[in-house]
Assembly symmetry: C2
Homo-oligomer: 307 residues x 2
Amino acid sequence: MDGFSCAATVLADASAKIIDGKLVAKQIREEVGVEIARMKDTIGVVPGLAVILVGSRKDSQTYVRNKKKACDAVGIKSYEVNLPEDASEYEVIKHIATFNDDPSVHGILVQLPLPRHMNDENILNAVSIEKDVDGFHPVNIGRLAMQGRDPFFVPCTPKGCMELLHRSGVEIKGKRAVVIGRSNIVGTPAALLLQKANATVSIVHSKTKNPEEITRQADIIIAAVGVANLVRGSWIKPGAAIIDVGINPVDDPASPRGYRLVGDVCFEEASKVAGAITPVPGGVGPMTIAMLLSNTLDSAKRIHKFK
Amino acid sequence: MDGFSCAATVLADASAKIIDGKLVAKQIREEVGVEIARMKDTIGVVPGLAVILVGSRKDSQTYVRNKKKACDAVGIKSYEVNLPEDASEYEVIKHIATFNDDPSVHGILVQLPLPRHMNDENILNAVSIEKDVDGFHPVNIGRLAMQGRDPFFVPCTPKGCMELLHRSGVEIKGKRAVVIGRSNIVGTPAALLLQKANATVSIVHSKTKNPEEITRQADIIIAAVGVANLVRGSWIKPGAAIIDVGINPVDDPASPRGYRLVGDVCFEEASKVAGAITPVPGGVGPMTIAMLLSNTLDSAKRIHKFK
C-alpha cells in the first residue's frame, strides 16, 4: 500500500462533516477550568496530578511537558518525578506508594513505555484504583466490561473518542460499531464503551479474515490499529461516523520535516463517503490530554465529595 | 413466538454433529480426578472448595448439593456454610474472610442469587482473587479483557463453552463469532474468551436492531440470552458451530412435570443447518460443574506450585 497518498486524486467534493477535535478539546479544557475554579472557591481544594517519567525518551519528555502545561492552564497542580533509565522497579513503586498516600494528589500517571527491564503490569497495578486516572488498572477495565458496574476512570483516548461522538450528535444506541484494533489502551476499552452505550460492537484485528466486509456494515468506526491509511473508501458505509485514532508518520519530501502524519483511515477517500470524520492531526489527538484533565478533576470531586 | 415447538414438523434429516456435553463433562471430571489423586500421592494435598449458601431457595440448594456431590466424586474436600435468609452482608463477608485465610481452601464460591438486601458487588469483591474459582471478580474479568494478561480463573460456564468447541475440533482463530447476550456471568466473558482465541467477535443484545442478519454471518454462535427458541434456522450460516447456553422451561402437557426445557436455539431447525450443536439439556449444563472442579484443582496446583 502506498502510505503517502491513499487517493489517486484529491477531489473537491468532500461531504463528510469534519469533527474538530481541537475545538472540542478546547471547550472541554475550558469547562474543566471553570469547575476547578468553582471547587477551589467553594471548598479550597485544587486537583493534583502526579506524573512519573522513567528514562529520557524525547517523545515521552514532550508528552509529559505538554501534560504539565495543560494542567497549569486549567489550575491542576502537577507533581513530577523523573527517574533515570536504570532506576529499579522498586523505586518506581515506592514513588507510586507515596503519591497513593498523598491527599493533595488525585491522579497518578506513569508515562509509558517503561524501560524494558521493568514489568509494566507490576507497576501499573501499584497505582491506587481511586487515583488511576489513566484507567489502565485491571479492576477499572473489568468494571468497564461488566454490566451494572462502572469503572473509577475510563482510559483517556477511548473516552475522548466517545466524547467526540456524543458532542457531534452521533447516536450510538442500537447502531452497528466496528473497532479496528484491540490494544489495552484504545481498542479494547473503546469496544467496551460502545457496548456500554448499547451499540452492537464487532472488533476487527490482525487475525480477522474479511475486515473490509465487516467494517462496511458499521454505522460507527473507531480505527486504532496504527497502520497508515488502512481503511479505504470502499470499507465505509455511506454516512458512517469515523473516529481515527491512528497517528502514523509517512515520508513526505514536500514537508520541511520530511514526513507528515496520517491516520489509520484514508481521509481523502473516507471524507467522500462518511457522514462525519475526525482529521489527523487535530481529531482524537487533542482529546487525550483534555480527558486526562477531566479524569483528574472527577477524581478530586469524588475524593472530596464535591458535586 | 410459540415457545413450545419452534419447528412445524420435526424431520429426520438432521445433519449437525451433536456436541455431547454430558460425555465431555464426564471425561473432564475423570481427568480432574486423576490429577487430584496424583497431587495427593505426590505432595499430600487435597483441593478444597468452600461454598456459601444464603437463604433457602430450593434451586440454589439443589445446585449446592450437586456441586458437593461432584466434589466428593473427584476427591475435592468441600466446605459448606449455610446462612439464614436474614443474615447480614457482614456475616457473609466474615465467612469469606475466614476461607480466604484458610490454607486448606483453594476455591470459594458464593451461591447466587443472594437475598435482595445484600449487595452482590461488595460480597463478590471480598473473595480473594486467588480463590475466586467462579472468576467473577472485576480483576479477573479485567485480565480476561486485556491483551497480555491472564485471569486467575475463567468463569465456569463460558469456559465450558470454549472447552466444548475445542474438544469438538472447532477452529476458532480467524473465525467470525457471535455471542447473543452480554451477562457478566456468560455472554461478556464468552465474548472475551473468543476474542482471546483470535476470533472476530460481535455481541448481539436486546438493543441490536438486526440480530438475525448479524448472527447469520457467524461461524460460531454462543447463545446465552435466556429466551426460548430465539435463534431460528434462518439465523444460522450453514455449517456453523452452535453452543446453546439457554435453559428455558416451556409448557409441555405431554411431560409428567408439565413442562420441558429448551435452549435459546430452536434445536429442530438449527440441527438441520448447523455443522455442530449442543443439545438442551445435556450440552453446556453439565460442563459448568466440571469447570468448577477444574478451576478448584488449578487453584490448588497454583497455590502449592504443583505441576
